[in-house]
Amino acid sequence: MVQSTSARKSLRTTLEVPTLRKSYYAQTLDDSKKGKKVAWCSNNIPSEILDAMDITSVFLENYATVIASKRLASGFCAAGETVGFSQDVCGYARMLMGYVLARDKVPEPPYGGLAEPDFLLVNSYSCDSRLGWFAAMSRTLNVPLHVHDAPYQPEGPSHSAADAEYIERELRSLVAFLEEQTGTKFEPDKLRARRAISRQTSDIMYEISQLRKAVPSPMGSADMFTAVWPSMYLAGTSECEEFYNRLLAELKERIDGQIGIVPEEKFRIMWSGIPFWYDMRLINYVEDFGGIVALESFYRTRERRLPPQDDDPIKDMALSSVRQRAFPSTIIASIDDILEAVKEYSIDGVILSYNPSCRMLYVSQTELQKALEDQGIPTLGLECDMADERTYSEGQVKTRLDAFVERLLAKA
């Protein structure tokens, strides 16, 4: 039996996610059997467009986290390594390359495996390893690949017209590729309807982000790392909007009742970077000491006011996304963003995950940690792969966490 690695959740709405996720993967297999076109996607590929064109999207990074959370990653990574991928390569890429190229060597894949792809879609944004990874899959699976490029935004989310125009051109290019692959004409009305839902969902998520500033924390990262899932993979669906409406109502309920995650909240922590999916119980670890991981660096909705909905849904998507990019694009912008969040969310200390196989994040974490310490914010760096549990030593990590808690309590 697989040992439970899940974080302990406190919100009833979050508990709906595993069922949503399971049925999503079952649906993708069913769609494939019925002859629907299947796209293997990287994160940040706009699923609303695919959904509007009746294409089934499968997000590989998400599937990688599912594998990791079931502590199967080492088997998948080892398979990737047998076909030549170094341990220094992104854990997600290594796992999925193992799945693609050495399927006989990987453990039984979760949810019955993935629907086979008709084409691949990769977003150049936030990570460069993905491009090589998807190009390698395209060659080995012999399926077409489309690269969806993103503009460099050194200042983070912006109002730049040039950036919006660039994104719009890229989205139209994506649509053209999908039309060519499916032989189906894109229908703007279908996307327009999904955009309307996405905009409403975005407003709800902004409100949730604001409510999470409350003391005691009504919702910690143990819940958010799971609760973010519908926004990433069911975007533009009423199922998604309804989920966040329920979550918002639950947060309001908790704030009204002054119900925190821990009985007496003594300190609040932010988790910066990707968590260790094979042991999400770590997120709860500080709760025994009266602490709460109250915020994570990735999943905060920053800007509420989107421009009015444009009648052209592609243009609308471009105008919105230029302001809503999840990650700022430079180390400086990222540091400023985190320092601001530390103040707004009354954060006492920051845990930074250092994942050697994710060079994009690794480098910025070093600078961020230094900036936080310079501001007098206690930090703790934990170095482990996000997916490959072979790099993880529970005893070492917990000693560091214990000492970090001692440091925070001595300061308090």
Binding site: E383, T391, Q396, D402, E406, R407, A410
Partner: protein
């Protein structure tokens, strides 16, 4: 009021018995596979040196070290990071930076004027700069562990050792020995390499004087001298550097009773 601190390290287990703020006795024994047994033996041995008192007389016991959670007879646990800071600062009140070099890991620790933990950096998943590394090197050079530090200071030249990995370093040293290189020169290279590596931990945490080294490697004069050279600071060395963690734990136990 009598308290005890017991530090279960990867190589050795240590116990310190305090009566108020006075050290009554201490012990250092090898850690066995059973942390609980090692802890009991360490405490028993320390008690036997005092006579007249038994474990029942100890009012509070704090366990520390990597095996701390397995010590069922302890009243509480505190991490070795806080304990080394507390212990070193108690021995040398001017200490603000502590380097604990133990059997399995190496920690650069910053503390305040009361010995409270302010910050720390530890080595990750690597034996470089630890007692284990030096044990391996003593074995490959066929010398006693206690002697290699002194030998390293008698070198004519410092042979550059490119790998601080215990595994690759071992084969590199074996290869140098086969080439007929002098052991003292090889040891100078090894000690320089690990001192440089450990120094990066100190740089990361920031060295504020005064600076003390604790743990078993503090007994290695080769490492101590090189760290003094690198830091430009005189290293404060406890008379018995291995017991500083257990001492800190016993002091926390005293604090606990005083606050009750």
């Amino acid at each position: 009021m009598i308290t005890a601190g017991v530090d279960i390290g990867s190589s050795t287990s240590k116990a310190v018995i305090l009566d108020d703020r006075q050290i009554l006795s201490y012990s250092i024994i090898s850690t066995s596979f059973e942390s609980e047994t090692s802890a009991r033996k360490a405490v028993d041995q320390a008690l036997s040196k005092v006579g007249q008192i038994s474990q029942e007389d100890i009012r509070w016991i704090i366990a520390t070290g990597y095996g701390r959670v397995i010590v069922t007879f302890a009243n509480e646990t505190v991490t070795e990071l806080s304990c080394h800071a507390r212990g070193a600062n108690w021995l040398f009140p001017s200490v603000r930076t502590v380097l604990d070099m133990g059997g399995q890991d190496c920690k650069a620790i910053k503390c305040d004027d009361r010995g409270n933990l302010l910050n720390f950096v530890m080595n990750d998943k690597c034996a470089a700069g630890t007692g284990r590394f030096l044990e391996v090197m003593a074995r490959v050079t066929e010398l006693y562990l206690e002697d290699i530090g002194e030998f390293s200071l008698q070198a004519d030249e410092v042979i550059k050792i490119s790998s601080t990995c215990a595994v690759f370093g071992k084969s590199e040293v074996a290869s140098l020995l086969r080439q007929g290189k002098k052991k003292t020169d090889i040891l100078a290279g090894l000690h320089t390499a690990i001192s440089n590596r450990v120094y990066t931990l100190l740089r990361r945490v920031g060295i504020t004087p005064d600076f003390a080294i604790t743990g078993g490697i503090a007994k290695n004069i080769g490492v101590v001298r090189r760290l003094e050279e690198r830091s430009g600071l005189k290293v404060l060395l406890p008379d018995e550097p291995q017991i500083v963690g257990a001492l800190g734990a016993a002091l926390f136990a005293q604090d606990k009773l005083s606050n009750q």
